[in-house]
Point group: C2
Chain length 111, copies 2
DNA sequence: CTGTATCCGTCTAGATACTG
DNA sequence: CAGTATCTAGACGGATACAG
């Protein structure tokens, strides 16, 4: 296996990490994890300060990255449910450890 | 303790995570961890595609967040050494688990 | 309800030149 | 050597209006 060295731009680790390195991805994943299946508007309600545009964009990216699953039902009004993929679920303990660390150290970091 | 709910913009966890949610922070921390004390130029060399501006900016932020320690020596030519703080060291296992996950799943994520 | 389209201001990030 | 200053292009992100 080559190009695993973090120094290089095409390092796969760098190209994975960059996908969560935005304002809303971890937060969105965390909410879907907590509530199981969630509808578009439920997620929006759970993150009061996200705009529709960023919510759509974030969900689309997470789906493209195979971290969440999108199920659309052809009803009127339409219903769309988002849930974690198996891979998404496997990421959550790692995110949880990040959250735990943040909780333990935020006073020192932001001091 | 209040305002620990991830939903709110002033949640401390969100305000900690946002500090690593950029292109260079984790990469810089990882390099300093691997090599112990590093000079400005050494870090730059270890990350060939970072610009001077982004390196300066990233190092400054990491120092402000108390994750790294900056030691400047009044020599000519000047010498500045960066190393992980104790808190920075405590973050590295978490980052390592992120890297491990990325390594295990990058094919599926980027597929 | 679940989005998309558009506009627009701000922030990010790189290139280059320059300083102590 | 270790940065800073300036400029610029593009990405990010919010508000609003609109569509299926």
């Amino acid at each position: 296996m080559q190009e695993l060295d973090l120094r290089y731009p095409n390092c796969p680790v760098r190209n994975v990490l960059i996908r969560f390195s935005d304002k809303w991805s971890l937060l969105t994943l965390r909410n879907i994890e907590r509530n199981g299946k969630m509808r578009y508007k439920e997620i929006g309600n759970a993150i009061p300060d996200i705009s529709q545009k960023m919510l759509s964009s974030t969900l689309k990216h997470l789906e493209e990255d195979h971290l969440i699953v999108r199920e659309a039902y052809a009803e009127i009004p339409p219903r769309v449910e988002y849930s974690l993929s198996e891979m998404g679920k496997s990421l959550m303990p790692v995110i949880q450890s990040l959250i735990d660390w943040s909780l333990a150290h935020f006073e020192e970091v932001t001091r």
